[in-house]
């Protein structure tokens, strides 16, 4: 999937501006604060909305005009709306029929099985819980075996066990060679999808790639570490005195510190501890998680 110079304007408001990227197989998380333009971008990627400028290609064609491209797309939209009077089974069968699947029954059974939907599948969708409807939407997106999947807040309404199961399913799909794009605002959930992210901030592409690699490239942002050791006062004083740490907070047996030169700090911290006969138990980064990276990128 390739987006080339994609922009979208609503009158004078530019929702997405000059976004370019290419995505291949695997799971990619689409991140951004509310109003950043993620949903608009996702809609354009599916062909649901026309870019003001730029172009989008899925499987080599524009999904807005090409049936062949749309046949390669599966979408779980964010909105709750489903055909309320349809049963779960007929909802998924409809997707299979319209998707050009030949063995509709078998494909439907498989899709329902993959999302672990069983029970009274002939009841109207409107009578089911949000979690059941969400899984029906996922089954409907999978039933025609698309090569590109767009999942907009796909874990909404699911209980923790179902969330784990769906995350495993998305991983499986990525490993099978499908391009899976997941938009979610719950960052610790997104972190479980994998490390590949596409960050949108104020309508622009702020970063793309492995978020840990992105963090390591952010030289202008000091890194924070937690150091657990004995002789905390001596070690802390030495770290500040030696210019290895710019900010220090001692919390019990731990030191939380900020450094502007992480490689140098990592290389020398053990020597400092040894110098003061301090026993070093743990050294862990505090802001290499997705939430910190995201905060830096969009701030």
């Amino acid at each position: 999937m390739v987006a080339q110079g994609v922009s979208k304007a609503f009158g004078s408001l530019v929702a997405v501006s000059e976004v370019s990227f290419a995505l291949g197989p695997g799971v990619t998380a689409l991140l951004g604060p509310n109003g950043a333009g993620k949903s608009t971008l996702l809609r354009m990627l599916c062909g649901l909305s026309v870019p003001t400028t730029g172009s989008i290609a899925v499987a080599g064609a524009d999904p807005r005009t090409s049936s062949a491209a749309r046949a390669q797309i599966g979408l779980v939209p964010q909105q709750d709306g489903v055909f309320e009077r349809d049963s779960v089974r007929s909802f998924v069968e409809l997707a299979a029929t319209l998707g050009g699947v030949t063995d509709i029954k078998s494909a439907t059974d498989q899709a329902l099985e993959r999302v672990e939907l069983d029970g009274p599948l002939d009841r109207p969708l409107g009578s089911f819980s949000k979690g059941m409807r969400q899984r029906a939407k996922i089954a409907s997106a999978l039933v025609h075996d698309p090569s590109v999947l767009f999942l907009d807040e796909p874990l909404n309404g699911l209980d923790p066990r179902q969330r784990r199961s769906m995350i495993a399913l998305f991983h499986d799909l990525g490993e099978q060679g499908k391009t899976v794009v997941v938009s979610s605002h719950v960052l610790d959930e997104v972190e479980r999808f994998g490390s590949n992210v596409l960050v949108i901030a104020r309508g622009r592409l702020a970063a793309q790639g492995d978020f840990r690699a992105i963090r390591s490239l952010m030289n202008d942002q000091p890194l924070r570490f937690r150091l657990t050791c004995t002789e905390t006062l001596k070690v802390a004083a030495a770290l500040v005195g030696g210019g290895l740490a710019t900010g220090i907070e001692i919390i019990g047996d731990s030191i939380e510190l900020t450094t502007v030169d992480a490689p140098l700090f990592r290389a020398r911290v053990a020597m400092v501890c040894k110098h003061y006969d301090a026993r070093l138990y743990e050294l862990s980064p505090l802001d290499e998680d997705l939430e910190s990276v995201f905060r830096y990128l969009v701030s």
Partner: protein, 236 residues
């Protein structure tokens, strides 16, 4: 063909709601009462045909077609379920044709029943009244439903727009000039009814061939425009 049938069945399933059934029952009862009243008039045939032309074809039929037609794809548009059909690799003309066909399938009994009830209760089933009522109702039902199906895709709130069209154009402006009458669907129904019953109606100057061809052409054009609209619209 499978895709056409799938969409056709989907629309059918969602068209028949309790509220709409109640509306049709009420319309049928109302027209049965009007037919019974016409029976007591000095010229029951002329009275019942007048009621059918003005209240039936001029008002009730377009309103029923508006409710059913605008809801066929318009409901998907409004409740954001259109995406489940739009994003599939189905030709837009198939979607438009199937949805319109399903809306017409439901609209036909919904419009024919009240009209036939009026004729039956008036006792004037002969002299071409029943035949003319059914054929003219069918013709304008097909045209109105297709037009309102298109309207459901064009605007988010089709009911006020549709009612303005019915009251302002069909019931008012189009009756003021011969040229405007040609652009009124109602005029073709009235002409068909007038010809079948041999009763003169003010609004019935269309030729026999036109009364058949124009409603069908309007329906086909509306389907083509619905297809084009599906191609160009932004989907939520």
């Amino acid at each position: 063909m499978n895709q056409f049938l799938a969409i056709y069945k989907l629309v059918l399933k969602h068209q028949v709601t309790r509220g709409r059934v109640i509306l049709v029952v009420l319309a049928t009862v109302l027209f049965a009462v009007l037919g019974r009243i016409a029976r007591g008039e000095s010229d029951p045939t002329e009275t019942v045909v007048g009621v059918l032309a003005l209240l039936g074809q001029g008002l009730i039929i377009p309103v029923i077609c508006l409710l059913l037609g605008s809801g066929s794809m318009g409901d998907w548009h409004n409740d954001e379920t259109l995406v489940y059909v739009w994003l599939r690799p189905v030709r837009r003309i198939i979607v438009a044709a199937a949805a319109t066909a399903a809306a017409i399938t439901v609209a036909i009994p919904a419009t024919v029943l009240p009209m036939v009830a009026a004729v039956a209760m008036s006792g004037e089933v002969g002299n071409g009244v029943l035949r003319g009522t059914i054929t003219s109702t069918l013709a304008i039902t097909v045209a109105y439903t297709a037009v309102f199906t298109l309207l459901g895709l064009l605007v988010r709130k089709p009911l006020p727009f549709g009612l303005i069209y019915v009251f302002v154009w069909e019931l008012f402006i189009s009756r003021t000039a011969e040229g405007a009458q040609r652009l009124s669907i109602n005029s073709y129904g009235a002409s068909m009814l007038s010809r079948a019953t041999d009763i003169s109606l003010d609004f019935a100057g269309r030729g026999q061939t036109a009364t058949i061809i124009v409603p069908v052409a309007v329906a086909l054009a509306a389907i083509a425009l619905s297809s084009a609209r599906l191609n160009r619209m932004e989907v939520a």
